[in-house]
């Protein structure tokens, strides 16, 4: 139980990296990874919410009665999500337009609630902070990898800048909704293969 904060942080980057190892929060994963900026933006938004909610819930874990803990968690998470939504509207409006409904939907993201329930409500502040940061950064990395894969092959661009030149025929299936499932499946497959060798 007495794992160091660094270990808690590290596990989110590989051993429990969402959404490949911790297969949760698939809705935004599938929906926003059409382009790199969207993927990274979503990852950062989720990281912020996760870190803040983990800290607050871990601080208040002795105050929150067991019977109403889910309601309290949701209130905490929803508040931070709304903060993110407002700040994004004010400072990154085009990103906000792109991500649209998926920002408010972070409220019901299983990763956030899952970490609150499984980790922050049972551990101290430092460990929870490390856990939130690790899982959040892991999620950002995953989304970035997935969106690079989809955008580069499906659109022929990286962050809206052309990579292969005009003669490239993009494999546009990948940026459409079914392509998201295929891309995620391939990623999961690769992760499992790598995992087995170890």
């Amino acid at each position: 139980m007495a794992k160091s904060a660094f270990q808690e942080f590290k596990k989110g980057l590989w051993a429990e990296i969402p959404p490949f190892r911790l297969v949760l929060g698939l809705c935004p994963t599938l929906a926003v990874t059409k382009s790199v900026d969207n993927g990274v933006g979503m990852g950062i938004a989720l990281t912020f919410v996760l870190v803040c909610s983990n800290i607050v819930i871990s601080l208040l874990r002795k105050v929150i009665p067991k019977e109403v803990r889910i309601a309290c968690f949701i209130v905490v998470i929803a508040s931070f999500v709304t903060v993110v939504e407002l700040v994004m509207q004010a400072y990154a409006y085009s990103l906000f337009l792109q991500l649209g409904i998926f920002i408010p939907l972070i409220v019901v993201n299983c990763i956030v609630l899952g970490r609150a329930e499984a980790f922050a409500s049972k551990n101290g502040v430092i460990a929870s902070l490390a856990d939130g940061l690790g899982i959040g950064i892991g999620f950002t990395l995953s989304l970035t990898a997935l969106s690079i894969f989809r955008e580069v092959l499906g659109e022929g661009t990286f962050n809206h800048v052309s990579v292969f030149g005009p003669s490239f025929q993009p494999f546009s299936f990948l940026v459409e909704a079914p392509g998201a499932f295929v891309a995620l499946g391939l990623m999961l497959c690769i992760m499992n293969m790598l995992g087995k060798k170890k």
Partner: protein, 194 residues
């Protein structure tokens, strides 16, 4: 019973804290969000209406009190003269309100151009009132005093085919913009000179 009360109090305190926090953030970001929305939602439409103007109509704006509401007007400078104003008005569409920016020439009360800003019409059908240039072009050059109606209602505007309801919404938005403009014209003229 006491346990119930405790649960109740905890949740209420949580909700109150969160409400307070959100109100604070909302009031801090409110002004910036307004500007961003102007820039991204109205900006492109405004640019189309005020094509060839020598100023930034987004920055050059003023507000006039109209009863309980405040109306925002954007000014376009052409040939060094502040002759064109644009204002936004709303009409009822198929899926909610349609926002329309109407540019009006102050010298002869004629429309210089219109453009749809916000709407929630059906993609590919009603949403074409925003994307079809030939539809919005019909309003150009018409006097703001005309009763704007689609042809099906005995008017002079050709509706986008299959989207009569949405076209009607745009027409009523333009008509209401005209009414606001005529009602506030003395104040507009006063503001624009200063």
């Amino acid at each position: 019973m006491r346990k119930m009360l405790r649960l109740f109090v905890v949740v209420v305190i949580f909700a109150a804290f969160s409400g307070g926090l959100l109100a604070a953030v909302k009031s801090m970001t409110g002004e910036r969000i307004e500007y961003q929305q102007l820039k991204f939602v109205k900006g492109p439409v405004l640019k189309k209406i005020m094509k060839g103007c020598s100023n930034d109509p987004l920055a050059d704006r003023f507000k006039i009190k109209d009863g309980k509401e405040e109306r925002t007007f954007f000014v376009g400078v052409f040939n060094g003269k502040r002759d064109i104003v644009a204002l936004e008005s709303f009409g009822k569409g198929f899926g909610g309100n349609i926002g329309v920016l109407v540019g009006i020439d102050l010298r002869n009360d004629k429309i210089v151009g219109i453009g749809v800003t916000t709407h929630s019409e059906t993609p590919g059908v009603g949403a074409r009132v925003k994307t079809e240039p030939s539809f919005s072009a019909q309003f150009k050059g018409k006097s703001i005093r005309e009763p704007f109606k689609v042809r099906a209602d005995g008017g002079q505007i050709d509706a986008v085919s299959g989207a009569t309801y949405s076209s009607r919404g745009v027409c009523s938005a333009v008509a209401s913009a005209g009414k606001i403009y005529l009602r506030l014209k003395p104040e507009i003229l006063q503001k624009i000179k200063s």
